[in-house]
Symmetry: C2
Amino acid sequence: MKENRYEIRIGGSGGQGVILMAVILAEAVGVYGGQFVCQTQSYGPEARGGKSKAEVVVSGTEIDYPKVIQMDLFLAMNQPSLDAYFYDFKPNGLLLVDSTFVEQIPTSRVIAIPFTRIARQEFKQEMVANMVALGALGHLCPQVRVEHLREALLARVPPHTRALNGDAFAAGLAAAQGVDLAALPHSIVSEEQGDEV
Amino acid sequence: MKENRYEIRIGGSGGQGVILMAVILAEAVGVYGGQFVCQTQSYGPEARGGKSKAEVVVSGTEIDYPKVIQMDLFLAMNQPSLDAYFYDFKPNGLLLVDSTFVEQIPTSRVIAIPFTRIARQEFKQEMVANMVALGALGHLCPQVRVEHLREALLARVPPHTRALNGDAFAAGLAAAQGVDLAALPHSIVSEEQGDEV
């Protein structure tokens, strides 16, 4: 079962639209892509102090355990959520950060794009930073097709904001297309060892 | 662990705002109420045909398994979702339905309120039916406080829609306050037997 799973976590502050990102991603993969998907958010005493997280687990078969066990992809929109939720990152996972707010990075397997700065400069609207990030994720996550993600996004946002959100998505996609994924270092950990970490 | 859990499912069509209801409920209980909460939606081949579901599991202690095992409360916004997602209803659970769209009811432990008709008649907006339903749920669900639910709702909806959504919530609350919960029949099943069903 486990090798079938692809596990994504998104972390950020309350105002950064973390849940909306995860819902759109889950709908793109599940409703539009036809895979099994569970999308979860958990709250507890630790869910304080400017950070929240949402998770998406994708599988080719039915999902027994819907929470992240080890992250394949972690999108961190700010430093507190990166610090708090990095703990179960896979050795050869991919970290994607909003470099506007993140300075301390705990892995070399990282792609840093200033989502919020792009939103601010290109669209004069910080609040579309999450859609910029989704555009980048659409390019970098092998489990979702860009067109499914765009479709799911346009179906979820309020109709009068579709053009703005679609443009923000395109800007994030373009930023990620400029990144050379093959240049990222790989940990010298076998998959088996990696799973035990 | 299990006796600590309180499990809620919300089912409806894609356009009825099922996920938003569950997110607001989870934030009311978790962020405002300080309990442990997991909120989940799952997609798979069965997530077709005008129905979707979202789940909220509440606990006084950390939640190991975040999906519903047996529902304490099931809010069904239409007939297809009631038919599809009723299967793990607790013997003495509570079913809450939108009687605008639901006619076939599989239990006598039901409260039927025409959420969509109220939204249509009082607010000329069918799309606030989910907020009417949340108001009713705030009165009927012992795990959430009405004021937490209202706070979470107002924080989640777009600012220019707060008055409308707040009024819809109040209308649902009032409708549920007219219901006599004590008059509902109880199944003659012990809790132990009930858990095994």
